[in-house]
Amino acid sequence: MSAAAVSSRWRGPLRLIARRIGLALLTLLLVSMVIFTISGLLPGDAAQEVLGQTATPEQVAALRHEMGLDQPGPVRYVRWLQGMMVGDPGQSLVANKPVADIISERLPNTLTLAALSALVSLPFAFLIGIASAIARGRKLDRALNILTLSMVALPEFLVATIAVLIFAVELLWLPSIALVPQDPSFGQFVRAYAMPVMVLAVGVVAQLGRMIRAAIIAELDRPYVEMARLKGVSQNRLIVRHVLPNAVGPIVNAMALSLSYLFGGAIIVETIFSYPGLASLMVNAVTSRDMPLLQACAMIFCATYLLLVLIADTIAILANPRLRQG
């Protein structure tokens, strides 16, 4: 195969991916504008929140000036955008520290929790999805359906609270709060993360498992599967070699959604286990009206989401010969 042929074969997908990256950047810009506008509509500002109930109007005005909040909104936005262009998310209004420092304290926590939860959830989700699809309509499938549906229906705060009552308060096996010491031993690490990861996994396993089941069932109904069966392909080989590669598109998309949820939607778990992650930092930024911090959190969540979806789409494109031809 010549070099020219290779390049023409990849030109289509590459152009598609480049366009997706451009769109992602545009989305980020729009999201930042929307967040800036909406957060400006919230009652009160950082100066009032910092000084509290008994502040004099002069104190509030002075602090507002110091924080630059007396500038008109568009000016503040453009200034923030200029900073972002060179990778500087600015100074936190409340903590008197660079936003980047605050985020860098929390980001590893969020990444660890999300990665561990994904690591635990994915095998279970695949197992449940595949088993359920193969046994479609039979007892196993129905049992798994009831299980996953009830797992989806159970709100996280309920699962978390019950888990804490059982494992921490009654049995005293696990800590009720996810406080990881500075240099944890392996045992401490596992104990600290066990419950938050378990609670997050409950929801993700159920959702992802159901989506994998649906994707595989859609493939199992296709004529090529019947053909393969007639040719005597074994069940395992059929699923692993024929069905899964074809179902990869919808499955990676579902995975991207689940992962972005683990990244940004862990607020309830973070609250109940008082785990210092990004989601609670963002809520904190909203209540203290710390706009630079809020914007930075929003940008991180949005960018992660777009990145995951982009990766999922890329995999789907590369896995699908029809899309690959562009």
């Binding site: 005293l172 009720s176 709060i177 406080l179 008082s274 930092l281």
Partner: protein, 512 residues
Amino acid sequence: MVDVISTDLSRRMLLGGLAAGATLSGAGAVTGRPRIGGRIRVASIAASTADTLDPAKGNLSTDFMRLYLIYSGLTQYDGQLRALPGLAERIETRDNIVWHIRLRKGVHFHNGKPLTADDVVYSLMRHRDPATGSKVQAVAEQFAGARRTGPLELEFRLTGPNPDLPVILAQPHFLIVENGRRDFSVANGTGPFICRAFAPGIRTVVRRNPNYWKPGRPYLEEIEVIAIPDEISRVNALLSGDVQMINAVSPGSVKRVRASPNHSFMETKSGLFTDLIMRREHPVTGNRDFVLAMKYLQDRELIKRALFRGYATIANDHPVPPFSPYYNPDIPQRPFDPDRARFHLKRAGLLGARLAVYASPAANMSVDMASILQEHAAQAGLKLAVNRVPSDGYWATHWMKHPLTFGNTNPRPTVDLMFSLFFQSKALANESGWNNARFDRLLLEARRSTDEAKRKEIYGEMQWLVHEYGGVAIPAFQSLMDGFDRRLKGIFPIPLGGFMAYTFGEHVWWDA
């Protein structure tokens, strides 16, 4: 000459005073001999990126706790909110205006620098500098100046008389920092513990200060302070042994803590209250008969029993709680009297009127109080619509901004502070927009008075004025509840806040 703090108060007397306070308060936790050692983790209610090591900027209970662990003040509270000597060995005044402060000898900051009068002058006067961003700038307005008169002596001058100065100086904001210190990314105090790690919104870790100026104290080797905002999670963390002390246990959770054989709880009776605010400038809520009707419609017994499960003290529409030494017992308790309320409503021509009341979880229990009030008001012939609004932004958008809203006021160390911050006619947080010339005059008169009996009489009349004419209805004072591991000893209530008004660090020991 008035000696506000006895000059020869030795350490033994100081400790004796504390122990006596504990027995009186009935916590009964002070038993056995203190021993050095042990590490505990303490969970408070809130932490945020605004957490600080700067005493002037302290805002939340977690801040106060952290600050009292690391820094010391010129004075300290006892169980009755009187001032005990702290870094100041002696505070004297003749006229309540010019104060002579003599500092304890041989006190060192954590970095080894000895404490001098310059540190104190700086620590007090920096609150007047707008650049400090002090939360108590308004209180510090009365600090006319401080002048060093010796290495360990200073003269502190107020703009007007204030006999409460020693008590005011025990507040967390007035803790003593090093002369010239502006950078509070690291803490350097003279307090019982040395800051080892501080991550805003996450945790604070402090280690025992072996050179603390109270010999033998503190007892604990290490304290880690974290925050668990969710109340149920906080109680769970206590019961599962992950933390050894928590504050703000809700009345509903007290049963769970009591049921545990390894845990106890402490009720601190406090002056904390949630009040119904009736704005003066509105024609309906400014009507005297309407105000009286709303006061008679407060079902205080029900609020105490049902909302606070008994962990409250009935209030009489003024902000001084019955356990205050200045409480006026001669004002008759206002009863729950719907008939009388109806009479006042009729006289105001408001029978059948409609009115909106704003309540929010931000003002503790106000939503439930509003519902009870709505029920009783309907029977008396007034239709109240309860608007439940979110906590976020409540103080900036709703509080005092509608004719009928709820407020929530934390206990203050002195009656003067409570009256001057919330009831004086020109006070910013004069919630109802009340304006009573006699009240304002009495407030100043009490400050000038050097005679305790006279002050008590003046404060008594002021309570009556607020009870009778004030624009707020105060149904009950709420108790503060702490839960702790039984092995933690030496705890007694100080009625300003949970965690022994946040000063538990130097008092408690671990008995295991």
